[in-house]
Amino acid sequence: MDRAETLTANPFARALRSWFLPFDYPLSPATPLPLRHRLALGTQVLIGRLSAWLYAPVVTLIMRLVMRYRFRDLRQVRRRFAQIRADHPGPLLICPNHLTMVDSAIVAWALAPTRRYLTDYAALPWNVPEQTNFANPFLRVFCYLAKCLPIRRGGSRQSQQAVMAKCAEVMRRGEPVLVFPEGRRSRRGGVDTEAMADGVGRLIKAVPGCKVLCVYLRGDGQDAYSALPRRGERFYVDLSLIEPSATGQGIRATRELTTAVLEELLRMEELYRVHRQRRG
């Protein structure tokens, strides 16, 4: 029984929840988030905003000085992202390809300097990591502070949709959310269209005006998936802003939208291969 189901089974929790919830489970990205959850998100933002001054510089220093990660054309990437946000300050879903466990941190660092996130905390993307990766209590605390909304990949649809509902809420407020459309690190060494995270399609449908920033991220030495990029890695980053649309209805439209995002990432991967060949 997962935690959501445990709460439902507890009569006291049910009664308490009913004071705040205009409706009972299930939550979904298409429906407004109940007050209780909005307050919880607000609390997470407040605590995260204050603690970011401690953890964000440390994480950046580890990536820069310990792991010695670098980017190709970083200024250009950041300028482009700043322009994208200036042109479209509305709901933004960031969808990178997925090869390592720290992709979301590297993408966030590539898109803007850390100092930007300290002064404009709303600009730091929320992300949706796999819950089982945070069994360690220290990691769980860090996850909370770093704008993570953990999701259980094999968990119930209800619990997954509750996380998607929170993502939709913050997107409506104009805060970006980072979700990997492949759902997990690719086992194929390239963009994997077999393992789709249809939550991407649900979010695009649920949030009016949503645009998708596809991010192709690849280290020079990243031939396959790994826990971390190798030390001293140099990253290629490419950005593409799209506004996918669907002709179908219901769940078919959800699938169309997710497929559109993955196909854009595939196209960007082809560009990367050409770029790589030219570099020699």
Binding site: P26, S28, A30, R153, G154, G155, S156, R157, Q158, Q160, Q161, G183, A195, M196, A197, D198, R202, K205, Q249, G250, I251, R252, T254, R255
Partner: protein, 82 residues
Amino acid sequence: MDQQQAFHEVVGILTPYAKNKAALESVGPNTNILKDLQVNSARLVDIILGIEDRFEIEVADEEADEVVTVGDAVKLILAKKH
């Protein structure tokens, strides 16, 4: 379209995605698609799309969320067809 027919068709659609083939042998209306048949949750949408195509129905996202057991899928199909 009766319940038995729908049930067999749904099992047919689920079969390629079920990792627990032993559970398929004793599948019933209360068989949990994710937990008992060990279907990858990422494949649930494929299953629902298969049901849409086979039965010529349209399933909304929220309706798909309600499909937890094989019986839920059958109920959804019968509700859509009648």
